[in-house]
């Protein structure tokens, strides 16, 4: 069962802080420890910043995963921006077109248990990340 807990609109720098704080609060309620809370919130901070930098606006949806075998959190970061031309390149460390360190995407993958990237040129990007309770 997947239960949506909150949706945060992301349009500016302040919304990045709001998104990561909300995710942290929900992660704590779901039962994640301090280190996982930090991992999840940091991952969402990276993805929310990508929305602001590349797509100007989008949203972050926070959901609780409650299946018999797997319980945890799922966060969907979605925008209608320009899309990612080459996902493989975007997932490689040090690659950036936005003047950053190029750690956001590969770093997020390392911090989470699962990461799915959907993107289409001119349509937008949807990145789904999951972390499961051990």
């Amino acid at each position: 069962m997947r239960q949506v807990l909150e949706e945060v609109a992301v349009r500016n720098n302040t919304d990045i802080v709001t998104a990561r704080n909300s995710v942290r609060t929900h992660a704590k309620q779901i039962g994640f420890g301090l280190v996982d809370q930090s991992r999840i919130a940091t991952a969402v901070s990276e993805l929310a910043r990508n929305i602001v930098v590349y797509a100007k606006s989008g949203k972050v949806e926070i959901a609780k995963l409650n299946e018999d075998s797997k319980k945890g959190i799922e966060v969907v970061c979605e925008d209608n921006g320009p899309g990612i031309p080459d996902i493989e390149q975007a997932m490689s460390e040090g690659f950036t077109t936005g003047g950053s360190l190029g750690m956001g995407m590969p770093g997020t993958k390392k911090l989470m248990d699962a990461m799915d990237v959907w993107s289409e040129a001119g349509k937008g990007t949807r990145i789904t990340i999951r972390k499961f309770l051990k």
């Binding site: 990045i16 802080v17 991992r39 901070s45 910043r49 750690m103």
Partner: protein, 139 residues
């Protein structure tokens, strides 16, 4: 926008980050600190991140850059109080904090900073002395 105070205590500048900083505030803080270094002629900089519970790649780079920029101006920087969860996340994220000196807490950080400043001043005195000797020998 959040404004973080930059305090001068004896020869040191002390910055305690106690709120979640957005990117713009973090950039402003970077500027404020460097301007304060120039204005106060501080000999060392200490950044306390005890209360910071999320450091992403932007914030991590910001802290690293402040330390590097301050060093270019002169004063050494110590970052103190990094939370265990933050340290774990930064390493897993892959962010290298090369060139940043860290200490467990404020007390240890201040001691370390004092030693660094003293070592730097000794080095400067030795250089000055060598220069003077050189002139005398050449005269």
């Amino acid at each position: 926008m959040e404004r973080i105070p930059v305090l001068k205590i004896s020869d040191f500048l002390i910055v305690t980050i106690q709120v979640a900083l957005d990117d713009e505030s973090a950039l402003k803080l970077q500027e404020d600190i460097l301007e304060e270094i120039a204005k106060t002629k501080a000999k060392g900089l200490l950044i306390d991140i005890t209360a910071v519970d999320i450091v992403d790649s932007f914030m991590g780079r910001m802290i690293r850059d402040i330390a590097r920029m301050a060093r270019l101006m002169g004063p050494p920087t110590i970052v103190v109080g990094m939370q265990p969860a933050v340290a774990i996340t930064l390493v897993e994220l892959g962010l290298k904090m090369t060139g940043v000196s860290c200490a467990l807490n404020l007390e240890k950080g201040l001691l370390m900073l004092k030693e660094m400043v003293e070592a730097k001043e000794r080095e400067e005195r030795t250089l000055e002395a060598e220069e003077t000797e050189g002139y005398e020998a050449g005269a």
